[in-house]
């Protein structure tokens, strides 16, 4: 499978990643070379093999349903680019 420049732009949009024209061109070549490497996977017969998501297939543990976190909103918002009265500020979304 080989990507086109439109594919790169579509994927960059999905990833919310701003790319310049020059970056798109350079990235296209590199992504196709990486996908060439990745496509070596297709030589392996994996019929009937169950996917493995975690190496040790650990079980999820349960804990008592009790409050364990304290509210640290002020501390966390102190490092925000823009916060006011407990809210994170972004450009207007709804007119």
């Amino acid at each position: 499978m080989s990507l086109t420049s439109d594919d790169v732009k579509r994927v960059a949009k999905l990833a919310r990643l701003g790319l310049t024209e020059a970056e798109t061109t350079e990235t296209l070549t590199q992504l196709n070379s990486i996908l060439g490497l990745v496509d070596q996977m297709q030589q392996i017969d994996t019929n009937g093999v169950a996917p493995l998501a975690h190496p040790l297939e650990l079980k999820q543990t349960l804990r008592a349903d009790a409050v364990t976190e304290t509210n640290q909103r002020d501390k966390f918002q102190a490092i925000a680019p823009q916060a006011d009265q407990g809210l994170y500020l972004v450009p207007r979304v709804v007119e």
Binding site: M1, D7, A15, H54, Q72, I79
Partner: protein, 486 residues
């Protein structure tokens, strides 16, 4: 007595316990050496001199009262991927260039609780994506053995700092070889523990099913001390294993008689460089002289580990790195016109090119219509790889091989070709896919540059890896060699 900064973590521990040195003496000696050499090596992004001297003073007070732990007052430095409350935590990225973490990673808390003194934060490839430390927004780290060469990556700062005696112990992380490969390139010892052995809480995530925190130091014994401090269950990391933590120092001197070392034939095929083969055979001869026997094993699917890794890791990264959006913390682009512009430009300007490539590959692999061909296929191959390892480790105690295909390469040599860089991790990636512990330890130099051999163990079998490496270190001097001129 040799200079303070020449001493290993274990030797410093003895000196502190015997009260021949104070924490203030030790800490200031390392800080002075960092000040002298960091402008050349660029191993540290942040040096926390004031906090370190304060902690050293406090440690000396505790020691004088007979309080503290056996580790109180010993220095460490943290890879800049571990969150440190109140200290800049950049992960090697511009997007976190203003991020003062509001909490400590579990590993950082454990080190603090043990009384360790943190000297600062270590340089790394951005978001741990790289094998040369050239992908850091804060500039490349130089290899202390030859400053025209890379120290490896992504834990290049950790490895270079230990190799140059800027710290006796460093935390590091390994997703596809990021502890073992830089350890091999810098003549240090490095251990990636079993997946789940060390908490990932507060460790900035790259690929969550592969990431594991570990250590780089001068010797296996040093790592045995350090691992005892950072291993263990943490309820804040749901993938952390609830397994007892043994005293890794107690088994270092066990005999290797009767131990079986598996030699994966795929690691020793005719593609292996002849000088590297000779270095590996020298190490094997030492292991045999200590009573171990060898047997050939096969890891049939190991060659597919790299292609499958470059689906799984970017896929997980594309999801993990979506949190860096310019809204809650980190870098935000100037004067965004709307919300989409804020996201796209903050991320576009904040991430470096390798991180962007991996986000794009991961987003593509997970996008509609491609899931079965990429992510599912890679996970199926992951099972085949894991089964290969389990089968091989059913017939032997440890697997042995080279850590890297060659010695450290020259800065700039592989930057134009991402795929050539990815193949650097050909011997290390499969271990992460299988979730097993792996260590890299000093092998003979080749043309004056360090090499490493790799030991891979069964799940939670760190003790045996450290035991074997320590036994080799008791009868060889490869781990005592230090770069000249730094």
């Amino acid at each position: 007595m040799s200079h303070i900064t020449d001493l290993s973590f274990s030797e410093l521990k003895k000196a502190l316990n015997d009260r021949t040195l104070s924490s203030v003496e030790i800490t200031s000696a390392f800080l002075d050496r960092i000040d002298a050499l960091n402008p050349t090596l660029n191993a540290f992004i942040t040096i926390t001199r004031d906090e370190a001297m304060q902690a050293a003073n406090d440690a000396d007070t505790l020691i004088s009262q007979g309080a503290g732990t056996p580790y109180t007052g010993l220095p460490i430095a943290h890879k800049d991927l571990f969150c440190t409350d109140g200290t800049l935590t950049t992960c090697g990225s511009k997007i976190l260039s203003n991020f003062v973490a509001p909490y400590d990673a579990q590993v950082v808390s454990q080190c603090k609780n043990a009384g360790l003194v943190s000297l600062g934060k270590l340089n790394m490839d951005e978001f741990a994506m790289g094998s040369s430390n050239e992908n850091s927004y804060y500039g490349p780290v130089k290899n202390p053995w030859d400053t025209t060469r890379v120290p490896g990556g992504s834990s290049g700062g950790s490895a270079a700092a230990v190799a140059a005696n800027l710290t006796p112990l460093a935390t590091a992380t390994d997703t596809g070889g990021s502890i073992r490969q830089p350890a091999a390139f810098t003549g240090t010892s490095g251990l990636k523990p079993t997946y789940g052995r060390v908490s990932r809480f507060g460790m900035i995530a790259y690929a969550s099913s592969l990431d594991q925190g570990g250590l780089i130091a001068q010797t296996a014994e040093d790592i045995a001390h350090g691992l005892g401090l950072i291993a263990g269950h943490d309820s804040r990391d749901s993938t952390s294993a609830d397994q007892p933590v043994p005293d890794y120092t107690q088994t270092l001197n066990d005999s290797l008689k009767g131990k079986v070392i598996g030699i994966p034939k795929e690691f020793f095929d005719d593609r292996l460089d002849s000088a590297m083969r000779q270095a590996m055979n020298e190490v094997l001869d030492v292991l045999k002289s200590l009573g171990a026997t060898t047997t050939e094993v096969s890891l049939e699917h190991v060659a597919e580990a790299i292609p499958a890794y470059y689906v799984i890791a970017p896929a997980e990264a594309s999801s993990n790195l979506s949190r860096f959006d310019g809204v809650r913390f980190g870098y935000r682009a100037d004067s965004p016109t709307d919300l989409m512009d804020l996201y796209e430009r903050s991320r576009g300007e904040g991430f470096g090119s390798e991180v962007k490539r991996r986000i794009l590959i991961g987003t593509y692999a997970l996008s509609e219509g491609y899931y079965d061909a990429y992510y599912k296929k890679a996970q199926q191959i992951r099972r085949l790889i894991r089964d290969d390892f389990n089968r091989a480790l059913g017939t032997c105690d440890l697997l042995f091989g080279p850590t890297t295909p060659s010695t450290a390469f020259v800065i700039g040599e592989k930057t134009a070709d991402p795929v050539a860089m990815y193949l650097e991790d050909i011997y290390t990636v499969a271990t992460n896919m299988a979730g097993l512990p792996g260590g890299s330890f000093q092998a003979p130099l080749i043309n004056g540059l360090p090499t490493g051999y790799q030991l891979t163990g069964r799940a939670f079998g760190e003790s045996m890896i450290l035991n074997a490496a320590h036994q080799v270190q008791t009868v060889t001097d490869w781990h005592t060699l230090r770069p000249e001129g730094v």
